[in-house]
Symmetry: none
Subunit: 209 residues, 4 copies
DNA sequence: AATGAATGAGAGTTCATTCAT
DNA sequence: TATGAATGAACTCTCATTCAT
């Protein structure tokens, strides 16, 4: 299902406020983004103050507002980037998939390693709904799109049964998120092979014709 | 899997601060809880202020602290109650289930109608992790327990294949939450029959021996 | 011209935020208003901070916002009250005027003694245009109304020549303000008899038929 | 009274910080002054930020401080220039005046056309008192001086009655400002002929012997 | 001469909580 | 039991000014 994942869709993250004009500026901007990612991810959006971010980034408070018009703006930017990178990584991972089954497994595995890598930031996704509801829906719809395309193709080719691809997509995202939450976010370890295998066998029976 | 859901487990909600002694007091306390449920659910924990709650409840600011020691405390209480009621409703729904399949479907359906009923409050669950991480894990572990018991029984009886019940439990919860999010919370309507059927057919193939 | 000054017009100053419910609250509110009058009047709107006001009023910062929704709001309230009191004082002063000439002189004198009394606050009027342009025009239009009515009556009765009353009203207000500025605000003393007499003789020749 | 208006008085505007040495520098300086005039005039001193000015002038923030030591300094410079130009225009206008009456009318008319031309900037005068009280008094005293000289001459020659020239000067300035405010600043049009005529007839009766 | 990044003090405002009645 | 006034720390954001290039 991950196969036709949109790799080339253009949801470029826009820098609304400031495209740093010097390399020094660009470095500062990046420091702020990194700091924001870490602290937002650790404490959540509402428990994070702009001061926290600037302290972590080792710049003055005012500097923050040179690069971002508001606290919510960095947050949105991070979520958009998260969405972008996640989908890119998945679509790249699927390139080399030989069989369907392999593709499915690769998709799950990539997702798990992604949230392991971006553990902190990933927790934020669930908080987005309280910060910016539209962005929240956007995130999941975007993610679902990739699944849906892959599912449609598999159904068209006859490999998968005919089921409503959107419903299946949300079910699959749910499985991925919950296994990721339970083993990656809580246990801070890789999702065990067994979990992956179990999930695969669970779904495949239902999908493969 | 919902079958042996613990209906009698004792996670009694404790009122740390105040067990209202008069009926007038009890009424006030309930007004505050109702107001909190509505506003927390609508705006989220961090966007809600204690004043909001007292205004909605039509009492003075100070009254809040007669019944609850802090803002976070009401929140925790609501989540605990949510957890309690949800699990109770599910276990009750499963009582009359004849076959396994029916039990599964009933479990899903009950969950969906529950979050439809408590739409606002339910969104909160995702915010819990940023308010009280332990409570967050407690919530899902508790919910998972019910699933696990049911699954173990079904596996023991030979109806379900032998799979790790915890893994399957989290997968099932993920499916339920995501379909609920997509069709109940976003669409504000019942999860369509089709979604339920799709989910069932998807899973059952993988589960039933 | 001051004669028919509207004494009964109802431009009651509304307390938008808070009608203090206890006498203690009312006292605090008044302390804040007094402090605001003094400090705004001394340093101007923009040079005054809310902290300045609360320090002067000997209350905590937050207390300010119990009684006023914002800094600009107290300011507006003060200006409205200023307008109200000024016009009331003038109209009351004119009650006992026997002749026209006396009425004119009384009007000027009352105005001068008013701005002497409210020296600080009065300077604010000129700053209003940068804070709330509409309020600024409202203030002068309201003041002009009183003049206009008196002038119209005097013209109708034949005592004054027929001139455009609005033009004359603004001319008279200009004279009053500038003499007040020069001798009351700058010199911090009464406008000398001489100035009053000079102004009167200057105008009367032009007005009296 | 406008007649002997000091055209040659030396209140040269000093650039404390920087007398631009190159023509390029001079151009930049002028761009900043123009931008400051426009923005100060539109939004007032306190609502204007240095950044606003530099953006309007299309230069970098730092550039501002090459030419002006501080925000307040440009403001003062603009007010001084305003004072200078206003008085120069009036005195030039009076050169060709044949009779007294004509001179008076010309003075008023010039003032009105001046504030129409410099509408935005002129509003600033009223804000000066909160920015730099001394400058404020200086402005009006300087303006009054011109009036006073003219009045004294007219009184000496016997055309005008003997009245305190300073008092009359402030009265005249008051009339001019208020008619200007009401019809030029608020209505954004010329002071109507009628207003001018009314003002003239009002005053002349009182002045002419 | 000019740029634009950086600073940090201070602004207005909110709000969980406590206190006095 | 209930009220509503009071607190003060913390928050987001602005801005005059300085610095490095």
């Amino acid at each position: 299902m991950f196969m036709n994942f949109d790799s080339q869709s253009k949801d470029e993250v826009q820098t609304l406020k400031h495209q740093a004009k010097t390399s020094r500026g660009e470095a500062t901007r990046q420091k702020l983004l990194d700091a924001a990612e870490e602290i937002f991810g650790t404490k959540g959006y509402f428990n994070t103050s702009v001061v926290d971010i600037t302290i972590k980034a080792e710049v003055a408070q005012g500097t923050f507002y040179i690069y971002f018009p508001s606290k919510i703006n960095v947050f949105q930017e991070l979520i958009k980037e998260l969405s972008h990178v996640l989908r890119k990584e998945i679509s790249q991972a699927l390139v080399g998939a030989g069989s369907r089954r392999e593709a499915e497994a690769l998709g799950f595995a990539t997702f798990f390693s992604f949230i392991k890598e971006h553990r902190n930031l990933y927790r934020l996704v669930m908080e987005v709904q309280f910060v910016d509801e539209e962005l929240y829906k956007w995130y999941y719809r975007r993610l679902a799109e990739g699944y849906i395309k892959g599912l449609e193709a598999a159904m068209a080719s006859g490999e998968f049964r005919d089921l409503d691809p959107e419903i299946v997509a949300y079910a699959l995202m749910g499985i991925a998120e919950f296994l990721g939450m339970r083993w990656v976010l809580w246990e801070k370890e890789d999702v065990p092979e067994k979990a992956l295998a179990t999930a695969m066998s669970l779904i495949m029976e239902g999908l493969i014709r």
